[in-house]
């Protein structure tokens, strides 16, 4: 099966992001003191090209696709722009390295407030049971548990394709996207996770096409418990129950693991939470949109425990960043928050209860958002009056 392509060229996503923190992507070039500007001129006929060359004080470049870069006076630029045989005149801006941006979900859950108060998840271990993790991504690498220690990561399905430094490396994007949401590195670039310094463990139970067997998923859940890790994050599901997976979740929960799963994307629907989210040992997470509505695709039902941002979520992918939708994206928000609490000594059951007790009431029904919207700051007893969705990507 083809990879999960999303219709947008992922490389162009970088161009549309306005950062809430740091420098936005495109900065205009101010005119030089003498009123000249450097512009890119696209023409549709030879007349346009000749006009541009005639007006140019300097010709930087001629392209093979009917455009050139020239220095002209501002008035000449305006005159060129008005010509029928000139398609465009654009200022020759510069792309600068983007600063770190605050994805709307991190902002809306007040995870940034927790960060400002020193909560980082440092010392907690999160198992990402998924398609793997992009091991050399600048926004994930520092948070990956040491790859040279074999037991830190596992491949139940081997990585396929050109980006496989390890058998557990991500060959799909999904696992990396979830990892960035849960625990993206807090540096000067990219995104930031709900947690920022926990340890990420790749348990690659999903293959390149994003699917995995009950047995492999169950094995990954058991492994998380056997390693003594804190959180098992499962952005996966199906409509049929697996007794093996149910038993594995019971085992893991009995052994102290906080298990978090995506509720499913069968919405609009009622009483349609999928498995493993539906198991009582697992926190079922529904998805909200930027305006605090339930995402239209989100499954609902009595098993929903809390909701988290799941629409237009910007995060890490293999070698870059992209925007995805799904309860897959909501789940790791909660995984990161759970890891933060467990880093502070909470047990799995106490973390689960605390997250529910402090969730924000956003006016949705309990079968839609359970106890409410994840509120990381409130979970730590910090003021959550911030509550901004911010001007971060996609909100």
């Amino acid at each position: 099966m083809l990879d999960n392509s999303h219709g947008t060229d992922r490389r162009t996503v970088l161009q549309t992001i306005g950062g809430a923190v740091g420098v936005a992507g495109l900065s205009g070039v101010a005119s030089a003191a003498d009123g000249t500007v450097e512009v890119n001129v696209g023409y549709s006929a030879e007349g346009g090209r000749q006009a541009a060359l005639g007006a140019a004080m300097d010709v930087e470049r001629e392209f093979a696709f009917d455009a050139l870069t020239i220095t002209v006076s501002e008035e000449a630029a305006a005159r060129l722009s008005a010509r029928e045989d000139v398609r465009y005149v654009e200022e020759n801006g510069t792309y600068e390295a983007l600063g770190e941006s605050l994805p709307w979900g991190i902002d809306r859950t007040d995870s940034d407030v927790a960060h400002a108060n020193g909560e980082t998840g440092n010392g907690a271990d999160i198992a990402i049971i998924d398609t793997g993790i992009d091991d050399d991504h600048p926004d994930l690498q520092a948070n990956l548990a040491d790859p040279s220690v074999d037991s830190n990561h596992k491949a139940y399905e081997s990585c396929k394709g050109p980006n496989c430094n390890y058998p557990w490396s991500d060959d799909n994007d999904h696992g990396s996207h979830c990892s960035g949401i849960a625990n993206g590195v807090d540096n000067t670039e990219g995104v930031i996770g709900v947690s920022t310094q926990a340890n990420l463990h790749a348990l690659k139970a999903l293959d390149k096409r994003g699917s995995g067997t009950y047995s492999n998923i169950a094995s990954a859940v058991q492994y998380t418990a056997d390693q003594g890790w804190d959180v098992a994050s499962m952005s996966l599901g199906g409509s049929s129950s697996s007794q093996t997976l149910k038993d594995a979740c019971q085992y893991a929960y009995n052994n102290g693991v906080l298990i978090v799963a995506a509720a499913g994307n069968d919405g609009p629907c009622s009483d349609c939470v999928g498995y493993p989210a539906k198991y009582s040992t697992v926190m079922a997470i529904s998805a909200t949109s930027c305006g605090d509505t339930l995402a239209s695709f989100s499954s609902t039902g009595p098993e929903i425990e809390i909701a988290a941002p799941g629409e237009n979520v910007y995060s890490t992918i293999i070698g870059g960043y992209d925007t995805f939708d799904g309860t897959s994206m909501a789940c790791p928000h909660v995984s990161g928050a759970g890891a933060q609490l467990m880093a502070n000594g909470y047990t799995n059951a106490d973390a689960r209860k605390q997250l529910k007790d402090t969730a924000e009431n956003i006016g949705l029904a309990s079968n839609e958002s359970g106890a409410g919207l994840l509120d990381t700051a409130a979970a730590f007893g910090l003021s959550s009056s911030d509550d901004g969705a911010g001007t971060g990507p996609n909100c």
Binding site: M1, L2, N4, S5, H6, G7, D130, T131, N172, H174, H177, L206, R209, G210, S211, G212, T213, Y214, S215, I217, S235, L236, G237, G238, S240, S242, A262, A263, G264, N265, D266, G274, Y275, P276, F297, F324, D325, G326, T327, S328, M329, C331
Partner: protein, 112 residues
């Protein structure tokens, strides 16, 4: 206009099934998916219609929405393995599991 074709290739004891979906129309078609699953394959008994095998049984999928855009003249292909098909006749069906169109194709296979 989407057309689906199913083809099979023996692979030792197993049977490889390939679902091809072609856009034979003039306009691009956007296919929306609710999760990572793109296709389903089902084998049924010829006489009773009883289900013998379903590819997605025993599997779970990443819960992320997906889009595939099929330009005019292009096609998508999905290939899976049916590990243990029985001798004799079986009816096999492949279907795209997108939200709207769900193009599908069926065939009868005779194995020995």
């Amino acid at each position: 206009m989407l057309t689906a074709t199913l083809s099979v290739t023996p692979d030792e004891e197993a049977l490889e099934l390939t679902l091809s979906v072609a856009n034979e129309g003039d306009e691009a078609v956007e296919l929306d998916f609710s999760d990572a699953q793109r296709a389903e394959f089902v084998a049924t008994e010829v006489d009773s219609g009883e289900e013998m095998w379903r590819w997605s049984e025993g599997r779970m999928f990443g819960q992320v929405l997906g889009i595939e855009v099929l330009d005019p003249g292009d096609q998508l292909e999905y290939e899976v393995e049916w590990p243990d098909p029985p001798d004799g006749s079986s009816r096999v069906r492949g279907e795209l599991v997108d939200d709207e169109h769900q193009p599908s194709a069926e065939m009868t296979v005779e194995l020995e």
